[in-house]
C-alpha cells in the first residue's frame, strides 16, 4: 500500500507540467489582479485629481498627477463655508478620545469577567454577547432626545463616553486574555501585595498591549468615519466632524465651482487612514481574523 502511494507521488513529481494546476493558478492571479485594480482604481483617480486644477479636471481624465496640490490644499483649508481644519481637529479629538476610553474600559470589563469569579459572571458575559449585534441606529431617537435634554447638543461627550460599552472590543480583549493571560500572574501579584487596580493598570494592561493597539486602531477608524449619530448631534458649524462636512459638500453643489478642491477634501478624509493602515496592515488584517471568528 505504502509503496503504491510512494509510486504515485513520484509519478506526480515526474510530470513536467501540471496543466490544470497551472490553469487554476493563472485564473487565480488574474482575478486577484483585477480585484486589486478595482479596489485601488478609485483611490488612484482621487490622488491624481487632488493634484490637478479645476480646468484640467474639466478637460478630461489623466493618468498623471498635476501640479496644483498646494493650490488645492490651500483653497480647502481657507474655505469660508466649510471649516475643514476645525473638522480635522474635531474628528481627531472624537476618534482619539473614543480609542483611549473604549480600549481601556473594554480591557477592564474583560479582565473583570476573565479573572474573577462572581455570581452573575456567566449572565453578564452572555448579555454582552447578545447586545453585540444591536445597531446603534435603533436607539438613536431616544439617545438624541436624552442628550438634548442633558444639554449635550454640540458636545463630544455623547460621542466618546458611550464607547466605554463596546461589546466587540470587549470580546476581542476577552479572547486575547484567554490565550495570553495566565491567572498565575494575578496570583503572584496578589502575593506580592499588589492591589487589584494596581495589578490591572501596571501588570495586566502592559501584557494586553498588542490587543489594545489593534482595537485602538479599529475604534479610531470607525469613529473617524462615523456619520449617523454625529450628524444628528452636532449642529454648530465649528463642532462638526469631517463626515458631516463631506455631506455638506455633497448637498452644496460645489462640483460646479472647483473640482480640485472637492477631490482634495475627499483625499483629506481618506488618506490619513490609508497611510496608517498601510504601515500597520499586518496587525490589522490579523486582528480581523482573530476578533471575529469565535472559538
Amino acid at each position: 500500500m505504502a509503496e503504491t502511494l510512494l509510486a504515485k507521488k513520484v509519478k506526480k513529481e515526474q510530470k513536467v507540467i501540471d496543466w490544470p494546476l497551472l490553469l487554476r493558478r493563472v485564473l487565480a492571479y488574474a482575478l486577484l489582479i483585477i480585484l486589486s485594480i478595482l479596489s485601488l482604481f478609485a483611490f488612484y483617480i482621487l490622488f491624481i485629481n487632488a493634484t490637478r486644477a479645476h480646468p484640467d479636471i474639466q478637460k478630461g481624465f489623466s493618468f498623471f498627477p498635476g501640479r496644483s496640490l498646494a493650490v488645492n490644499w490651500n483653497s480647502v483649508i481657507t474655505d469660508k463655508v466649510l471649516p475643514v481644519v476645525k473638522g480635522i481637529v474635531n474628528s481627531f479629538v472624537v476618534a482619539g478620545g473614543c480609542a483611549l476610553v473604549s480600549t481601556y474600559f473594554s480591557a477592564m470589563t474583560a479582565y473583570g469577567i476573565h479573572a474573577y469569579t462572581f455570581k452573575i459572571k456567566k449572565q453578564a458575559f452572555a448579555f454582552i454577547l447578545l447586545i453585540m449585534m444591536v445597531p446603534t441606529q435603533v436607539s438613536a431617537l431616544g439617545f438624541i432626545n436624552l442628550m438634548f435634554k442633558m444639554g449635550l447638543k454640540n458636545s463630544f461627550i455623547p460621542l466618546i463616553v458611550p464607547t466605554i460599552a463596546a461589546p466587540i472590543t470587549f470580546f476581542y480583549m476577552k479572547q486575547y486574555m484567554e490565550s495570553a493571560l495566565p491567572l498565575e500572574i494575578v496570583e503572584a501579584a496578589r502575593i506580592d501585595g499588589s492591589g487589584e487596580f494596581f495589578t490591572f493598570n501596571r501588570i495586566i494592561f502592559p501584557i494586553m498591549k498588542p490587543a489594545i493597539a489593534v482595537q485602538a486602531i479599529f475604534t479610531f477608524v470607525s469613529n473617524w468615519n462615523n456619520y449617523f449619530i454625529p450628524a444628528l448631534l452636532l449642529e454648530d458649524q465649528n463642532k462638526k466632524t469631517l463626515p458631516i462636512l463631506i455631506a455638506q459638500l455633497r448637498s452644496a453643489d460645489w462640483l460646479k465651482f472647483d473640482m480640485g478642491k472637492v477631490y482634495m477634501l475627499i483625499a483629506i478624509a481618506i488618506f490619513p487612514v490609508v497611510i496608517v493602515y498601510l504601515m500597520l496592515s499586518k496587525f490589522i488584517v490579523r486582528g480581523v481574523a482573530l476578533g471575529s471568528v469565535k472559538g
Binding site: 454577547l129 431617537l141 444628528l232
Partner: protein
C-alpha cells in the same frame, strides 16, 4: 504603598475577590444602561405616541397605542424601503460571498501556493477602513456627468454620450451595491480564510491520498465544516445591510433618487429623526430593532454551538 499595608488581611484564607469582579465590569454596564438601554426603552415608549412637528408647532404627545405601526405598514413606504434595502443588499452580497469563498479557497490551497498573499490581503481589505461618506462622495464625483468614468468610457468608445448614472434606478442601486461589495469582500475573505484554516489539515491530506480533486475537497470537506462561519458571515452582513445608510445617503444626497428607489430603511429613519417625528421614528426604530434582534439571536446560538463543540470556557 497603601496596598502593602492591606496585604496581611488579604492573605487570610478564603478571602473573596468577587466584589472586584463587579467593580471592574460596572463601568460597562452603567454606561450601557444610560447611553443605550434607557434610550432604547424610551424609543419604544415614543413609538406609542403621536408626537411630531408641523412647522414651528409641536403636535402631541398624544397616546395612540399601535397607530404608528399601523400607519407604517399601511402607508406603503416602509415596505418599499425595506424592499430597496433588501435588493441593494443582495446585489452586493451575492458577488461578495462568491468572490470571498473563491479567494479564501485559493489563498489556503497548499498546492496552488499563491504568492504575495500579504499584498493582496492588504489591498482587498483596505476599502473597509475608508470613510463611507467620503468614499460615496468620491464615487459620486467619479460617476457624475463630466466625471472621469464617463470620460474614460467615451475615450474607449464604449459609449458615445455621457451616462447620467444617478438618474436610473439600476445604475444607482448597482453603484451602491458595488461600493458595499468593495468595502466588505476583503473582510469576508479574511473571515472565511480563518474558518478554512481552522479545519483539521489531516482531513485534506486524507482526501488527497484518496485521490480527491481540489474541487471535491472543497465541496465535501470545506463547505460542510464551514457552515457555522458562513451563517455568521451572512447574518452579520444582513444586520449590516439593514443599517445601510452612509453610502446611499451621500450618493443620492439623502433623496434616494430616482423616485426613492434607493432610499433605505435607515435613510427613512433619518428623515423622521431630522423632522422630529418622534412617533413614527420610534415605531420604525422598534421594527428595525426586532429584525436585528432576531438575527442576533441566530448568531448567538450559532456561536454557542461552536464553542460548546470546542468544550466551552
Amino acid at each position: 504603598m497603601s496596598q502593602m499595608t492591606a496585604t496581611p488581611l488579604k492573605k487570610k484564607k478564603g478571602i473573596s475577590y468577587a466584589k472586584w469582579g463587579y467593580i471592574f465590569i460596572a463601568p460597562f454596564f452603567i454606561v450601557y444602561a444610560i447611553f443605550s438601554l434607557y434610550p432604547l426603552l424610551s424609543t419604544f415608549y415614543y413609538s406609542l405616541f403621536e408626537h411630531y412637528r408641523s412647522g414651528l408647532k409641536v403636535i402631541g404627545p398624544y397616546f395612540v397605542g399601535l397607530e404608528n405601526y399601523k400607519a407604517l405598514f399601511t402607508g406603503g413606504d416602509l415596505l418599499k424601503y425595506a424592499g430597496n434595502t433588501f435588493v441593494i443588499w443582495i446585489m452586493g452580497f451575492i458577488p461578495q460571498i462568491i468572490v470571498s469563498m473563491l479567494l479564501a479557497a485559493w489563498f489556503t490551497d497548499l498546492r496552488l501556493r499563491i504568492r504575495a498573499q500579504g499584498f493582496f490581503k492588504t489591498v482587498i481589505y483596505m476599502p473597509n477602513l475608508i470613510m463611507a461618506t467620503a468614499f460615496a462622495m468620491l464615487f459620486f464625483t467619479l460617476f457624475s456627468i463630466g466625471g472621469p468614468m464617463n470620460d474614460i468610457l467615451i475615450d474607449l468608445h464604449i459609449i458615445s454620450q455621457p451616462i447620467d448614472f444617478f438618474a436610473r434606478t439600476g445604475t444607482t442601486r448597482g453603484l451602491i451595491a458595488a461600493m458595499n461589495f468593495l468595502m466588505w469582500y476583503g473582510n469576508t475573505t479574511i473571515l472565511v480564510m480563518a474558518g478554512i484554516m481552522g479545519i483539521d489539515p489531516s482531513l485534506f491530506e486524507a482526501a488527497e491520498i484518496d485521490g480527491a480533486t481540489s474541487g471535491q475537497a472543497f465541496r465535501k470537506i470545506t463547505l460542510p465544516l464551514m457552515r457555522p462561519i458562513l451563517i455568521y458571515v451572512m447574518i452579520t452582513s444582513m444586520i449590516g445591510g439593514i443599517q445601510m445608510f452612509d453610502v446611499p445617503q451621500i450618493l443620492t444626497n439623502g433623496k434616494g433618487a430616482p423616485n426613492a428607489t434607493s432610499t433605505t430603511l435607515v435613510m427613512f429613519l433619518n428623515n423622521h429623526l431630522f423632522s422630529k417625528n418622534y412617533g413614527m421614528g420610534g415605531a420604525l426604530s422598534v421594527i428595525l430593532f426586532i429584525i436585528s434582534a432576531a438575527l442576533s439571536v441566530i448568531v448567538f446560538f450559532a456561536f454557542n454551538y461552536q464553542s460548546d463543540k470546542k468544550g466551552g470556557n
